[in-house]
């Protein structure tokens, strides 16, 4: 298992379009991947889970992956967050 911490740095938080990108990225990997705040953790492969996560701008999140490709999975997701989901906002 591998854990990495990231922060939401776009204004709208993890909105529907961003969440869709996270799901698409997560589904590329076999590992189980979870996203969590201090209070709850959700499956990164379920968009509804991601949407119900109370993650606004500045919220610290942990990405947890376990499986054969956990290293690569974490790396891809961290990059997506750092890239502000490719929307530059």
């Amino acid at each position: 298992m591998k854990i990495e911490r990231v922060q939401i740095c776009n204004r709208l938080g993890l909105h529907a379009r961003a969440a869709a990108k996270v799901v698409h990225a997560a589904c590329e990997f076999q590992s189980e991947i979870f996203l969590g705040t201090d209070e709850e953790e959700v499956n990164a492969k379920s968009i509804l889970g991601l949407l119900t996560l109370a993650a606004t701008e500045g919220t610290p999140l942990s990405i947890r992956a376990s499986g054969v490709d956990e290293e690569a999975a974490i790396k891809a997701l961290v990059a997506l967050f750092q890239n502000k989901f490719g929307e530059g906002g």
Partner: protein, 588 residues
Amino acid sequence: MSRSQLKGMGVSPGIAIGEPVVHETRPMATLRITVPTSRIDAEVERFRKAVADTVERIRENRERASQQMGQEFAAIFDAHQLIASDASLTGPIEETIRSEQVNAEWALDQVVAHLVARFEALTDVYLSDRKLDVLDVATQIMNALHGLDVRLLENLDRPVVLVADDLPASTVVHLPLDKVLGFALEMGGPTSHTTIIARSLGIPVIVGAHGACQAAQQSRILAFDAFEGKIIFDPDPAEVSEFQSRQREYQEQQGHLFHVRLLPTVTRDGHTIELLANIDLAAELEQAVQWNVDGIGLYRSEFLYMKTSPGLPSEEDHLAEYRALVSRMDGRPVTIRTFDLGGKKLAREVIGSPEANPVLGLRGIRLCLSKPDFFRTQLRAVLRLAAECESGRVKIMFPLISGIEEVRIARLLVRQLSEELRREGHRVPDHVPLGAMVEVPSCAVMAPELAKEVDFLSIGTNDLIQYALAVDRSNELVASYYQPTNPAILQLITRVIAAGEAEGIEISMCGEMAADPLIVPVLVGFGLKKLSMNPQSVPVIRNLIRQLSFRESVHMARQVARMVTARDVEEFLLERLAILLAKARIRV
């Protein structure tokens, strides 16, 4: 005696008699039905089919969106597709169907309600707004389960009177409108897009008919009179014949007006007024031609977007539409207003999150400038069109200008695009008149300065009144504050006209006021020379202007300018109109 009657507000003239068809868009109460054990598998299968259909439809929409607008726009469909097939939605629904032995609709309703409650518990406003996406998808699945009633409407095979709670314009454009005798709506207003479409096609409309859906459901025949706003359910034979004779009378009157179509629009003392058409749809263009307008004063390009929605029209789509327009107008000027999708679903998808106050939000020129790609496509098409026409014939008008900077940016963009087209080897026009719509009060205040920077101004009174008087006319509680005759509005208008005269640029009016028989005489007196209106109003206004004296109108305008309340102005104008009509025996 008829079974029952209702009162509404007639917003498109005419009389309709026919079989009612009810279309309710508001969520129907979902019934809980117990499904026998032997049918449970089939019920789950029915649900899965509805989900698969929904996912497929979203995928189709996504394809079109991504081709025409790029990946960023398509991403919202990605999200919807994922929501529709998310196991944490479909799983609990299938489980509910099996464990409670209920119908799929009920299970869907329960699970979605539970999900929505979770979103509503999130305190952040952006976060709780995410429920909208879930609800949107849930509605699509529900429609798929119901077999989608919109398709039923699209396949109407006989003339009907359409009764609905609310009818979004996106639904109306897909209806076989030749089969619609009239619309009786519970919601909507005089300026809703549905009303505008119906009026343009000569289809009578009554809005604000609360309870019409329920009453129509039990009726075989419905008759309504949009002049009086009266709806009768199951009229008796005497009532039917009364409605029919009024219908004939109206048609004959229309026939009489047809004779004025080739007469010039000139006052008794020789002052000429240009009557232009506001165009929404291709069908309206035919009416404009029929009533012999002097040109197109306002081509609302939104319907082109609605037609291809959720995809966007390409440069060639724009060009083809505009070419048809100018060729049908046969040498007469055409003003194309760039897109204004304020508050619409498309805009919501473009912006990504709903706005708390869309009327004051990203619409008009702001939307155009925030989506340079869309704007570019449209402007390039208009520039290419202008190059094909006689110089100055095709004009570009920017909506919702609130300051001079916006005009400067738009002008710069036009210049850049002309350059770009030239480099690509296209012909470009030497000069395309650029104009601003005066809808925001700040724009009317700045008219003297603005007039130095544009080639023409057009006063859009519907928005100007709404913004200047801070009133939403569709809100019944404040509708009476919407006063076109408010002296403040008249002052804003005269200020714009004076600015136009000082700078020698054309001023026109394209709001509903331009077609209001009460106000037209005073507008003529203020010195307005171009009025743009829905084509149907053209014969009535032409007939009216032909009875006016310009000198008297100027005198009248001076008297009006001294009045300080809307009521005084209105009473004065009513009195003057009554005298005029009595003299001329015009019916308006």
